[in-house]
Symmetry: C2
Subunit: 249 residues, 2 copies
């Protein structure tokens, strides 16, 4: 049994973290039995340490260890792995009879895509980040989240969110980012990025979309906008991968 560590979402939202969604999609795609442990945002470091999970990297200061979700514990092998990319690589190796996330030959191009993808949708973050504590978190977690990001950006998190004309301009940049992504994906001859084969990068894109839909709400103006762009490609991706989106508790 694999244990997946996720960040608690305030009801009715179970789980909003795009990074954890990558691992959830991946575990379901490989049909690997797993259960989820939900941890409140301010408790991640303590809970992961207690479970014997190492940090996934350093905080922005370059020194302090950073404990993050997703992390997994695999009882079958004793492995403990943090970071959605490393988890995906681990699962391909540890379970060679399950469908490959990185078919041989595609590793380098997927790595490049993985690095580039967040840059293309970077205009989203000033709109999305201030929304996260309001929509996904309870009061204690929200306070912790707001304090952390306000310190990191040197301004109150809420001030990051563009309003009025600035928001219109920011949203146009978001649309342009999706347009660039669509330019690449439209080169594919199949429903997935690599044609008829599902690969890790499909789950990378789908996880962001899934979290955006949760965060804005399916009937929000924002999600209806996104749904209307690029011939319905974005909601289509979620539909194509829906069978791998179940939450195992």
């Amino acid at each position: 049994m694999i244990t997946l560590y996720d960040i608690t979402g305030k009801p009715p939202i179970k789980t909003g973290s795009p990074n954890v969604w990558k691992t959830r999609y991946v575990l379901n795609y490989k049909k690997l039995p797993h259960k989820t442990i939900f941890v409140e945002f301010p408790d991640i470091e303590d809970e992961l340490k207690k479970a014997g999970i190492p940090p996934s990297g350093k905080k922005p200061d370059g020194v302090t260890p950073h404990y993050t979700c997703p992390s997994i514990i695999d009882d079958a092998t004793g492995a403990v792995v943090s970071d959605s990319y490393k988890i995906a690589e681990y699962l391909d190796k540890a379970y060679p009879d399950t469908p490959k996330l990185f078919p041989p030959g595609t590793e380098a191009l997927q790595a490049a895509f993985y690095d580039h993808f967040p840059q293309v949708l970077a205009p989203l973050w000033p709109i999305v980040l201030p929304r996260v504590p309001r929509v996904v978190m309870d009061e204690r977690s929200a306070e912790h989240y707001i304090r952390m990001y306000s310190e990191r950006f040197g301004m109150p998190l809420a001030q990051m969110e563009p309003v009025g004309e600035e928001r219109v301009a920011a949203w146009a940049k978001v649309k342009a980012g999706f347009g660039q992504l669509d330019g690449w994906l439209s080169k594919s001859s199949g429903p997935f990025i690599m044609g008829d084969t599902v690969t890790f990068v499909d789950f990378v894109v789908a996880s962001t979309l899934h979290s955006l839909r949760t965060l804005f709400g399916e009937n929000s103006e924002e999600w209806r906008d996104i749904d209307g762009w690029n011939d319905g490609r974005w909601a289509g991706i979620l539909k194509n991968l829906k069978e791998y989106a179940s939450v195992e508790i």
Copy 2:
């Protein structure tokens, strides 16, 4: 017979344009007979118009048609194609029995890589661009080039080139860019980006490397630096693709 339009390089350099190198590699890889017509930099628009070749896009003003090398004329089909990416797509389609540059399923990931690659090596351009007219061009072409780029950047081109401590810092950024690229490529299990299969993106990377080696000179401090980074990966790429680097006149 395919005619390839290239930009004249001042002797002993025949050809320095990284964009044209992509097409040269591709034609040699597909073993498609071709000849090269060299055009002086200020004459590109006139010569291409005269040959019936359309612009490849717009100049930075978004309005003026932009005539560029590489462009090809394919006598066998009557096709006239500009832009190295479009030429590669055209050749895959027009000559289906030659080795594919875009194996089915890889199109979208290659498109994403193609867009990302110049960003990763962006720190090179302030060092490289002012060097181009000095090393590769005769006096008339150099004057035209310097005027064009000085207008575009709103400062004398020579002033773009970092010197002293600034150059040391800029070169460290170049090294970091190569390091990021190496991080992706090291995921590949073969000599090429997609393992044992050559694809278009290999020629994209090799063309930049080939031009850098020409521009700096094989025995320059800069090329020796690059050659020493990332376990010799960069000179190794040129060596692996050397059989496709002949210049057909």
